[in-house]
C-alpha cells in the first residue's frame, strides 16, 4: 500500500492556480523528491500534504487518512519541517529537542536512546549546551530535523531543508535522510536544486503548478531523446553561437570553457565535429556526456504538451 496517495490535488489563491491537479503515489520507505524552481508550487503542495492548507480540489491520503476531510488526524503521524521551522533561539540544542519531545508526548523512558541516535547522525552531541541562536545555518537545519524526528513520524515532509546550507552540512543532512528511509520512514522533500534531486528514489518535476515528469532520476535522465555532447575549443563562446545555429542541435549552453550541446539522435560526436569544422570553427574535441537531471528538466519544459 502507498504511504501517500495524491489524487487531482489542486490549490488556487484568489483565482491564481498554484497547484494544478497533481496525481502521484509515494511508497512506504521511499525518498520522494519534489523538484522545481521558486513559484512552481512545491511549498503549497507540501502544506496541503501536512494538513495545514486545505486543497481547493482533489485530495491526498496519508497512511489511510484524508487530508481534505480529517487534517487533524494526519498530524500525529507526520513531521513537517517548513522553511521557517520554529527553533527557540534562546534555548540550547538539548532544550529544543526536549521541547518537541514533550509537544509530541514522547515517553520519557524512550528519550535517552532516541536522543543518542539523533546526536550520532547529526553530530550535534558536542554542542548540546549551545544556544540554538548561536549555531551555524547547517547546524540549525540539523537541529530542526532532529526536533522533527524525535516523535518518530511515519512520514517526514521537508520544505527545502538545504536552502542556504553549505555543501558539507548539506551532505550530512542527506546522509541522515537516507538513514531514516533505510529504517522505513517515508520522506517527501522539496528542492530547487537538480543535483540534490538526483539523490531521491523518485522525483516529481513541478513547473508552474503542474507535474512535468515523475520517475526515478535515472529513468528521467535517460528519457532525453537525443544525445548530450561536451564540445571544447579555443573560442568556447563562438562554438556556442555556432552550435545554436547548427541544424539538429536543440540547445547549447556554455559551462566555463566547455559547451554542452543537446542534439537529435542522428548526430554523433564525429558528425558534430565535422559540422562545426565545416562551419569554420576550430574544435579541440567533442565527447559524449551523460545528461543531468537539469538537462532533462529543460527538455520537459520545452516539450510541446
Amino acid at each position: 500500500m502507498s504511504a501517500v496517495s495524491v489524487q487531482g490535488l489542486s490549490r488556487s489563491f484568489a483565482g491564481t492556480v498554484a497547484v494544478d491537479s497533481l496525481t502521484f503515489d509515494v511508497e512506504r520507505g521511499q525518498l520522494f523528491g519534489i523538484v522545481g524552481p521558486d513559484g512552481a508550487g512545491k511549498t503549497t503542495t507540501l502544506r496541503m500534504l501536512a494538513g495545514v492548507l486545505p486543497p481547493t480540489a482533489g485530495d491526498a491520503v496519508l497512511l489511510g487518512v484524508s487530508v481534505a476531510r480529517e487534517p487533524e488526524r494526519v498530524k500525529p503521524h507526520i513531521a513537517y519541517m517548513s522553511q521557517r521551522f520554529g527553533l527557540y533561539q534562546d534555548l540550547t540544542v538539548r532544550e529544543n529537542i526536549l521541547f518537541y519531545a514533550d509537544l509530541y508526548d514522547v515517553p520519557r523512558g524512550e528519550l535517552p536512546a532516541r536522543m543518542e541516535r539523533l546526536y550520532r547522525f547529526s553530530r550535534l552531541g558536542d554542542f548540546e549546551d549551545r544556544l540554538a541562536g548561536r549555531l551555524s545555518g547547517g547546524m540549525k537545519q540539523k537541529l530542526s530535523l532532529s526536533c522533527a524526528l524525535i516523535h518518530q513520524p511515519a512520514v517526514l515532509l521537508l520544505d527545502e531543508p538545504t536552502f542556504g546550507v553549505d555543501p558539507i552540512s548539506r551532505r550530512d543532512l542527506w546522509l541522515i535522510l537516507h538513514q531514516m528511509v533505510a529504517d522505513g520512514m517515508t520522506v517527501i522533500v522539496t528542492t530547487s536544486y537538480m543535483d540534490e534531486a538526483e539523490r531521491c528514489d523518485v522525483v516529481a518535476m513541478l513547473h508552474e503548478g503542474r507535474l512535468l515528469g515523475l520517475d526515478s532520476p535515472r529513468v528521467i535522465q535517460d528519457h532525453i531523446e537525443g544525445s548530450l555532447f561536451a564540445v571544447r575549443g579555443p573560442d568556447p563562446r563562438a562554438l556556442r553561437d555556432l552550435l545554436r545555429h547548427t541544424s539538429g542541435v536543440r540547445h547549447a549552453t556554455l559551462f566555463g570553457d566547455v559547451v554542452h550541446a543537446v542534439t537529435g539522435t542522428d548526430i554523433t560526436a564525429v558528425s558534430l565535429e565535422r559540422m562545426l569544422i565545416d562551419g569554420g570553427a576550430s574544435v579541440d574535441d567533442v565527447t559524449s556526456a551523460r545528461p543531468s537531471l537539469e538537462d532533462a528538466f529543460i527538455e520537459f519544459v520545452h516539450a510541446p504538451s
Binding site: P37, R123, D126, M139, D166, A182, D195, L254, G256, H302
Partner: protein, 312 residues
Amino acid sequence: MSAIAVHELTRTFDDFVAVDSATFDVARGEIFGFLGPNGAGKTTTIRMLCGLLRPTSGHAQVAGFHVARDAAALRARIGYMSQSFSLYPDLTADENIQLFAGLYDVTGARFAQRREWVLGMAGLRGFERHVTGTLPLGFKQRLALGCAVLHEPLILFLDEPTSGVDPVARRGFWDLIHDLAQAGTTVLVSTHYMEEAEYCNRLILMNRGRIIAAGAPQTLRSAMTEAIIEVITDDAPRAVEALTRAGGVIEASMYGRAVHVVVADAGAQAVTMVRETLVAAGRSVESITQVTPSLEHVFVSTVRSEGGAVAG
C-alpha cells in the same frame, strides 16, 4: 595584465585568522568562482577586494587600484548583485534604473543610452512602468543585473546570483554573464552551489581561511586522486554497511537507489575490491561503474583531506 592580483592577502579579527595568505590572479574577462563552506573566508576576501575591509597584511590590486590605498575610487568601478536583490520592490522597473543611475552618477546622454541597454538586455521593454515586485523572478533577476552594471563596472561581483531560479532562466542569465565577460567585465562569483560553480572559467576552493584548491572545474575534477564508484545492489543500506567497514573505502553513502563508494585509489583493482566486498557480504551486484566525480565530490574530498570544515 591581470584584472585582479592578490598576494599573500591576510585578515585577522583579534586572534582569528579569517583569511590566511591568499595568493591568486584573475584575468580580465574571466568568470572566477569562490567556493567554500560557511566561515571559509570567502566573504572576507571579497570584502577586501571591494575595498570595504582593510587587509591586515599582504596586498591586492583590483582593476589597477590598490585596495587599501584607493578604496573609494575602486568602489566606484565595482558592481554587486546578490540573490537577495538590491531592487526596491515597490518602485517600477524604470524607477529602479533611475535610482541606480543616481547612485552611480550616470547622467545625460549616457543615462539614456545605458537605460536602453538595460531594458533591451533584460527583455523589459513594455514593462518599464510595472512595479518591480510583481515581475516574474527571471525578469527581476535580469533587472538587478542591469542595475548592477548600469555604470559599466570593471569588476562585477555576484553572490549566489541564481539560487532558486528555474534551470531555463538560470541558463539564460549565465548567457548574459558570459556576454559581459566577453565584453571585458571581470566577474567574481561566490556560491555554495555546484550548479553555479560549473559556469565559472576557474574556481578557488577555500577552507578555514586558506585556498586549498584552484583551477578550472574540469581540472579540479581530473586532479582528484580518490575515485567514485557507483554500485547498484539488491539492498543499498546493507551494501553501505558492508562497504563502510572495508579497508580502502573512505566513505560509502546512498545516492538514490545506488551507492556511491569513495575509494582512496582509482583503478581497476578498486572496482574489484568493491565487488568482492559486496559478494562476501552476500549482496548481489547489478551494476558497478567508476563515475566522473562531480564538483561536490571534489569539494567534500578536498575539505576532508584538509582537516574538515569548521564545526559549529
